[in-house]
């Protein structure tokens, strides 16, 4: 285990990638603690301590998770990676709806580049909206409900505008950092950054539980390890569809004749559906924080703030579950195209034994995929539900508002990253972590 790590660091190429990723993470954390100009650092710190220690701490759980603790510090990267994730969900959903985007996607690389560009513009738009909202909340003192100290040093328009601009710029830097990791580091930038955010608030959450009661803490730890094992178990499970390649002569050489398989994971979608679902459910919270400030909120806003903001109401759980199931199917259909796979197989003389190449193969792949994704989606939904339900039954849900989601994100990204390091090690004939 340890020798594998030292070996990873001894390979120059891999070492560079690892150090690069760690460096980006360090920059990301720096931006998350660096205060935005115009913020009264001492007051914010005092209010934050008050808010997270007290009874009201649980309300901030979700906010903390999705900003890695940066939002309530009013830092430069206050919005974190969330606007980028939201923007990419919206664009992926729109690709199905809008023909022009679909055409772009089919165009190949240049089209994808165009879509990425649109995602970036949308991110900036969302960032402007969200940062304006939060600066407004900070100005009126509603960010921390129980804290009456001024959060901003002065309230003239120039300061406010500067803050909005700085936070928006921060978001675009976060986006860039994520893309840098994808290009030159290890793993998918977006996942690594959201992983960092989850990991950053995790120790504090655990400390809170520990302080509440040592018994719950032990229970949570034991359940946590079991859940990690369960997630690993399902993530590793594969349905292997055998593929036979025909032998063929090209010139004087003989090609093919090998048999391989197409690995279809039970959870082909990975953890993306969970991230998508939880970031969509984060929106109602944003909306209510914006509109709750008015004197007499209307019925809709009231209902939302009662049912969709904290994780322990039935409405929230059901919506979350349904969203996860929907996004699992949606994401699988985006990332795995049976027709394309079948065409490729046909091109290279491959076939699934017993099934004719071409359309029947595509249909068969689709058949298996939809059957496999059903338990996959259920598993994702249930794992994200289990802690909420269990702790709500035990009456301790307030202490651990996001257990399942964060465990899924941590294990999912952890597994992916370790596997990538592993495969890079194996390219150089080294034995990795995962003998």
């Amino acid at each position: 285990m340890l020798t594998a790590i030292t070996r990873a660091f001894r390979t120059p190429d891999l070492r560079n990638k690892l150090l690069f990723t760690l460096g980006i993470i360090a920059l990301f954390r720096l931006g998350s603690v660096l205060p935005t100009p115009g913020v009264h650092t001492d007051n914010v710190r005092r209010c934050l301590a008050e808010a997270t220690q007290g009874e009201a701490g649980n309300i901030y759980g979700m906010v903390q998770l999705f900003s890695g603790g940066a939002l309530l510090k009013l830092s430069v990267f206050a919005l974190g990676i969330m606007p980028y994730i939201t923007a990419s969900i919206i664009l992926q959903l729109l690709t199905v709806v809008i023909p022009r985007l679909e055409a772009l996607k089919k165009e190949g690389q240049s089209g994808t580049a165009k879509i990425t560009q649109y995602t970036r513009y949308l991110t900036i738009g969302l960032a402007v909206l969200q940062s304006t909202a939060f600066v407004a909340l900070a100005r009126t003192g509603q960010l921390f409900q129980n804290c009456r100290e001024p959060l901003l040093i002065n309230q003239d328009p120039i300061t406010i505008i500067t803050m909005v601009i700085v936070m928006t710029a921060g978001t675009s830097v976060v986006m860039w950092l994520g893309e840098l990791i994808t290009d030159r580091g290890i793993g998918n930038g977006m996942s690594i950054l959201i992983f960092t955010q989850v990991v950053a608030v995790f120790p504090a959450e655990l400390m809170n539980i520990f302080r509440a009661s040592a018994w719950t803490f032990t229970a949570v730890m034991v359940v946590g390890v079991f859940m990690i094992a369960a997630v690993v178990f399902v993530e590793q499970a594969q349905r292997r569809i055998p593929v036979q390649y025909a032998k063929r002569m090209v010139g004087r050489r003989m090609y093919g004749g090998t048999s391989t398989y197409i690995p279809l994971k039970v959870n082909q979608a990975g953890i993306i559906p969970v991230i998508f679902a939880s970031s969509l459910l984060y929106l109602p919270q944003l909306v209510t924080t914006l509109f709750a400030s008015s004197e007499n909120p209307n019925a809709v806003v009231q209902w939302i703030s009662q049912n969709l903001v904290t994780g322990d109401t039935p409405a929230y759980m059901i919506t979350f579950f349904l969203l996860i199931v929907f996004f699992t199917y949606f994401y699988v259909s985006i990332t795995f195209n049976p027709v394309e796979v079948a065409d490729n197989m046909k091109k290279y003389g491959g076939f699934i034994p017993g099934i004719r190449p071409g359309r029947p193969t595509a249909e068969y792949l689709n058949y298996v995929l939809t059957r496999l994704t059903a338990p996959g989606a259920l598993y994702l939904g249930l794992i994200s539900m289990v802690p909420i339900v269990a702790l709500a039954v035990a009456g301790a849900s307030q202490n651990f508002p996001f257990g399942g989601t964060s465990i899924l994100i941590m294990v999912g990204v952890g597994l992916d990253t370790v596997k990538q390091i592993e495969s890079q090690l194996q390219q150089r004939n080294y034995e990795g972590f995962l003998k």
Partner: protein, 83 residues
């Protein structure tokens, strides 16, 4: 890593040839179970190994990130605090 699964593919799904029929939920459920039986689940050794690796990875990252955070927070307080 070639595996011969001639026997498994022999019982290929009873797709209606030509016209499409809607699968009833009960049939769908049976098909799901049938597919799940063909899934290759990780072995116990594999599972334990991966779980430990993931745990260690997460712990290392938690250590790195919380160390960084503590340092950076102190630094920021030293520079911007106490005004």
């Amino acid at each position: 890593m070639a595996i011969d699964t001639r026997g498994e593919t022999a019982d290929k799904p009873g797709r209606p040839s030509g016209e499409k029929k809607r699968t009833s939920p009960a049939l769908f459920y049976r098909q799901v179970v049938a597919e799940l039986r063909k899934v290759i689940w990780p072995t116990r050794k594999n599972l334990i190994n991966y779980t430990i690796v993931v745990l260690v990875f997460v712990l290392i990252m938690v250590a790195i990130v919380s160390g960084l955070d503590a340092l950076l927070t102190e630094g920021v307080l030293a520079v911007f605090g106490g005004s």
